[in-house]
Amino acid sequence: MIPQNIQLDSQGRLRHLLTIEGLKRQMIVDILDAAESFTTVGGQAVKKVPLLRGKAIVNLFFEPSTRTLTTFELAAKRLSADVLKINVGTSATNKGESLLDMLRNLEAMHCDMFVVRHAESGAAHFIASQVAPHISVINAGDGRHAHPTQALLDMFTIRRHKKEFAPLTVAIVGDIMHSRVARSQIHALTTLGVSELRVVAPKTLIPSHASTLGVHVFHDLTEGIRDADVVITLRLQKERMESALLPSEHEYFQQYGLTPEKLKAAKPDAIVMHPGPINRGVEVSSEVADGPQSVILEQVTNGIAVRMAVMSMVLGRAPEGAAQ
């Protein structure tokens, strides 16, 4: 039988990062604090620290990605690790090689960490359950299940602007049903103890039993973001129109697209977030995306520090060395 939560070792330390679910509040705070110490690295003349020198990290992306892949790669390089990118779309699994055989081959090359993105929920758990004991797995997004580093960088961004989580009202707007980002954000925000967490979308984009995750469900945008401190918008995939979930992008934007007008319902100092890539004029208007309340580009920058923190913690090195 597979152990229930394999991402922690026997001493409760992070061995893999597969999901936010089950992480203790203090561990999330530790990761955010470690990330804070890495934010200065990007501004140095030599943008590197030697924490992971000699370690080999493989980016194993079974789905296309630009931002996540690039920031993972930058993060690993800034930690002085050797980084290998395997574009699986054009690689061996297309030639009939099984996922497991591919992992065995990479293990044989003495890698230390796999950063995995895969279209199926549970893929990162599966890979973590199969790899040799010296290898760690970071989930860079599996199906609709989890995208823990994205949620952590979002928490990092929120904390930088709002300091404390306890008083906050957070609204997540958009395709909750298919979003691994939303699931990880929900676990992170409930663990960090925000005052109120809402999800806002038509019923077709909200999974049944969503309220069991500890969120309040809204179907009206203005009501859903009223007096919110943080408004997170999610990407809407084009294929949702083909599976009878939505009639059109046009109507979605009319009802759920975030415009300066609608944003007035939120608190005046509310921040607007988006995990990218943005569909301008679908989830959010350009005025909002590029406006003063938007922290969308900051999220991308913060992604590097947060991923450095996670990689260095998982590979077992104390992050305090980074500041020196």
Binding site: F126, H145, P207, T212
Partner: protein, 425 residues
């Protein structure tokens, strides 16, 4: 050539027997219970003191994986697993490769099973050719070749074809076996749609995928006037629909898989692919309702829904792992747990895996009547054992029950009076 089973507690629900007595077997048949028939001499004696002697079990759904999926198991390996589990009759659904839609395939399976000789095999024929849901199969021919019913397994059939197939099956005197699931509502789902699927981000199969299919088929059954059986119900509501229909006099029966009486969506934990099964594991409320339906006899049979798999079938991310549990070896021990839990008396529990499934298949099996075939299971109800991979006999080791402690273990299995399994041999 007589065989005498001595001092066992004989439980034969079909004949309302529950008493300590001897069983006498001659020429492969039950010769007498209690007192030896005139002129009986026992060549062999089995001491069944402290043990239960009951009809060999009749399992409504066992995938033997032959023909077509021999990398997952075959008639020999799975017959051996059946014998070890006290199962003397297994019913094989038609979704083999080739599909069981010709007399030739039926003959092949039955011949192989007879050669192996460890359990009796009966088959369901395909309701439509190739299970494609378009053209009716030659049901009269299939019946003549030995099929005991027809089914389209999990392959969808539109209502019009289903109606006609039911009418034709009724004409041929065949029971229609139904795996009730609306394919469009299942869509890409791989587990129950509920509080676990929302957490794991796995596409869910809603309850209504089953209930809508059951409601639809019930109306078609009434219209066609066919005798029908629902395979492995998974939801409380579907069980209720069938109970209501039975009360209204419709000729329908239903079974439940043994695994669904113990596991729920929660057991999937963090993506345990051994808990991926069709229909999906539902909620605790559903599990309790299925147990209650057995108690109230609206569901009259428990089957294993045995689906052995090769190792690779489960070694994949949850959505691309294959559904099914290698379950025949846990049929008796888990059924005994239902007795322990108070859901069923021991005779009623045995009836659910002997006489009642035999009646659904229309077989003269699952009973110890004088003159009937001596298919007998003897088990020690007190014996404790640990269910582990090493002693699994089925080729498929895909069971979420590995590591469980069980009380109650098959000691002997007789097929036509011949010993086909003995514990420790």
């Amino acid at each position: 050539m007589g065989l005498q089973i001595k001092n066992g507690r004989v439980i034969d629900p079909a004949n309302n027997i529950d008493t300590v007595q001897d069983v006498f077997i001659e020429q492969g048949r039950i010769a007498a219970l209690g007192k030896a028939p005139a002129g009986f001499t026992a060549q062999t004696q089995i001491d069944a003191s402290g043990q239960i002697v009951c009809p060999g079990f009749v399992d409504l759904c066992v995938r033997l994986r032959e023909p077509g999926f021999e990398h997952k198991g075959n008639i020999a390996t799975e017959s051996r697993a059946a014998a070890k589990s006290g199962v003397t009759t297994v019913c094989c659904p038609p979704d083999t490769n080739p599909v069981i839609d010709t007399p030739g395939t039926i003959e092949h399976i039955l011949e192989r099973a007879e050669e192996v000789g460890l359990t009796k095999v009966v088959v369901l024929g395909a309701l439509t050719q190739g299970l494609a849901g378009k053209q009716l199969s030659e049901m009269y021919g299939l019946k003549k070749a030995g099929c005991v019913g027809v089914s389209n397994a999990y392959h969808g059939v539109n209502p019009q074809v289903m109606r006609r197939a039911m009418e034709y099956a009724a004409s041929a005197g065949l029971t229609v076996f139904i795996n009730a699931e609306d394919a469009s509502l299942r869509a890409g789902g791989c587990m129950h749609e509920g509080q676990v699927s929302v957490r794991l981000g796995l596409p869910g199969i809603p309850e209504c995928a089953e209930t809508i299919a059951v409601a639809r088929e019930l109306q078609l059954i009434e219209l066609a006037g066919v005798r029908a059986h629902f395979c492995h119900l998974s939801t409380a509501r579907a069980a209720q629909l069938v109970a209501d229909a039975r009360r209204d006099g419709l000729p329908v029966t239903a079974d439940v898989s043994i695994s669904h009486l113990f596991l729920t969506e929660m057991d999937i934990g963090f993506f345990d692919s051994n808990c991926r099964v069709k229909p999906p594991l539902r909620t605790q409320r559903d599990r309790e309702a299925l147990r209650a339906a057995l108690t109230q006899r609206s569901i009259s049979a428990i089957c294993s829904d045995h689906q052995p798999h090769d190792v690779d079938a489960k070694l994949a991310p949850f959505p691309s792992s294959e559904p099914g549990i290698s379950a025949i070896e846990t049929l008796l021990p888990l059924t005994l747990r239902l007795v322990e839990a108070g859901s069923l008396s021991l005779p009623d529990a045995i009836a659910c895996i002997t006489a009642q499934p035999a009646a659904i298949l229309g077989l003269d099996a699952g009973r110890l009547s004088v003159g009937s075939a001596a298919d007998v299971c003897i088990f020690d109800p007190e014996r404790q054992w640990n269910f582990n991979r090493a002693q699994m006999v089925s080729y498929g080791k895909n069971s979420p029950f590995l590591g469980w402690e069980f009380t109650g273990c098959v000691t002997y299995t007789l097929l036509d009076g011949k010993l086909v399994y003995q514990l420790g041999e």
